[in-house]
Symmetry: C2
Subunit: 341 residues, 2 copies
């Protein structure tokens, strides 16, 4: 069967919010599978806010995307053909092969998914990078203690919703900030957060924070930056810890990111801010994944995922991340399995 | 001999820069010395930027000064009369008795100064709080490694000049930012800093930083906050550490402190900012003081102090801290020893 490889490439680097000119759909011939390689059919692709950073041509914690090359990102696929001893046709694998319908991978570029733990898509979120980001950012930097107050911005997102649940497991009071009543309900009703603040409808986020955090803020897990973080930073307690995970409010800004300077707060409160990315913890992924899997199987952790359909809808799904539409993890399903286990 | 106690009290809380209405000179009768107490004649008082924070009636890391009470601060005095077994007349002691000519202290409110190590005034700076602030902030938070680049703002001040010398002892490349050519010369000629940047005369502090730090900034010891810190933060290397010690540029601001938001930088660089005050390290003061004394005696550390004369000149000396006039430590001598050892 002749298969075309459909790809989405980075057509130009966006200034501000990416748009239809940022992406281009192209068709490529598939390479032949050589020894030690596997042919993968992509089943699911992940769209994540950090990918916006890779569209810029500036040094960051991950390399910029190359112009006119396929957009890389976390993906799950099925092995259709294997010239590697490690894989056979029908195996389900994950890797960074990104926004394309097929990929010929070296055997070390992908890893097999354990199908016994949870649905395969969880490997792109709660058992994957977003779960690990929540796990290490909260526990290694935030270090919440029982009875402390943990505030999370972007709380209904994939990382934030996992952070809150882990903080609850650790006995903390958990307050989530999100942008719709539907999200707040999700946090309080489904994830058992203690309080939720809808930053889009509040008149006074500072007053809301003070009501939700009568004992102040001990840990602020920051996914958004911007004005929301300006407000939370003023409520920090002495010896507070701030894992700085994301600044989604600023990723598409063309101008400088101007707001509250934090230096005086940090001094007065002996507070810590630590920026991080999950790559810092690569030598501890196994530990994190094992614990996350255990909590998931024991019902201590849950998740929400939204699965869009169709290769052609990937760019729009990505842009929706910045429109605050999604609850939990947003994925796009672009292919069906041909083998079944 | 009848002795009046002259005090400077906090007459009103300043908004913005303190002025003559902030302070009031008063005369008080001396209390009688009771059992377990000593009568102290003040010899030297310290003026420090952090005292500005205590003039506000807001929660901070130290209690606010009380209105109409004497301004507290580090002081050195001579015991004139002792009803404590621990002290005798002629002993030189230090404590927080502040801006007054005499003080009746409980025996545990003061501690004896070891006269064998260095001139007594060093106990108000390089062997005292400012030295310990430099020591713990740099070594416990900044953790400079040999060959790394350490940038210090407020570098010619008492803390900054000690930080730079300790960083040199640890083998780092040291770049100081200060506000006059005289200060820059002091840093480079007397303290052996590798580079100095005069922020008042530069046209482009970012370009100057890049020239002075061709390998980027691994540790930024921040004494000033404000625009200088905005500039240094953009030059941080991956895994950089920022001990946040002071924000003197902002202490007298009435409006909110608005500038560069640091969240994106912290994420991209996996960088750490940690606010601190020396009180956090009180259980390790002995360790720090011992090491500082050793370096001082071995000639590895040096210092500059400026000693003003006269009780009536204390407020003006304090205000000069915010005018960027002093190099090293600023003290005021307000009394002569009556006993000599």
């Amino acid at each position: 069967m002749a298969r075309d490889n459909n790809q989405i490439i980075l057509a130009e680097r966006p200034e501000g919010m990416p748009d239809k000119n940022t992406f281009q759909f192209v068709k490529k011939d598939l390479e032949n599978v050589k020894d030690g390689q596997v042919l993968i059919k992509t089943l699911y692709v992940s769209v994540d806010p950090y990918m916006r950073g890779r569209m810029e041509n500036v040094e960051s914690y991950v390399e910029p995307f190359k112009l006119h090359q396929v957009i890389e990102g976390g993906s799950i696929g099925e092995v259709l053909e294997s010239k590697s001893d490690q894989y056979k046709a029908g195996d389900v694998v994950m890797g960074m092969f990104g926004w394309q319908t097929y990929y010929v991978a070296g055997e070390n570029e992908v890893r097999q998914i354990d199908l016994s733990i949870a649905p395969i898509t969880t490997n792109l979120h709660i058992l994957g990078m977003t779960g690990l980001t929540a796990y290490f950012g909260l526990l290694d930097i935030g270090k919440p203690k029982a009875g402390e107050t943990v505030v999370i911005s972007g709380a209904a997102g994939s990382v934030g919703s996992t952070v809150g649940q882990i903080a609850k497991i650790k006995g903390a009071r958990v307050v989530g900030i999100a942008g719709s009543d539907e999200k707040i309900n999700f946090l309080k009703e489904e994830l058992n957060f203690d309080e939720g603040i809808n930053y889009r409808t509040t008149d006074d986020i500072k007053a809301d924070l003070q009501r939700a955090c009568p004992d102040g803020v001990d840990v602020y897990f920051d996914n958004v930056g911007g004005e929301i973080s300006d407000a939370v930073m003023t409520e920090l307690n002495r010896n507070a810890r701030v894992p700085v995970c994301g600044a989604i409010s600023s990723y598409n800004k063309e101008e400088q990111d101007i707001g509250l300077r934090v230096q005086q707060i940090l001094i007065k409160k002996s507070a810590l801010m630590q920026g991080f990315t999950i790559g810092n913890y690569s030598d501890r992924f196994k530990e994190g994944a094992k614990q996350l899997g255990k909590w998931l199987q024991e019902g201590e952790l849950t998740y929400r995922e939204t699965i869009r359909e169709g290769f052609e809808n990937i760019p729009e799904a990505f842009l929706d991340l910045f429109r605050g539409k999604n609850i939990g993890k947003l994925l796009v399903k672009i292919g069906e399995q041909e083998y079944r286990k």
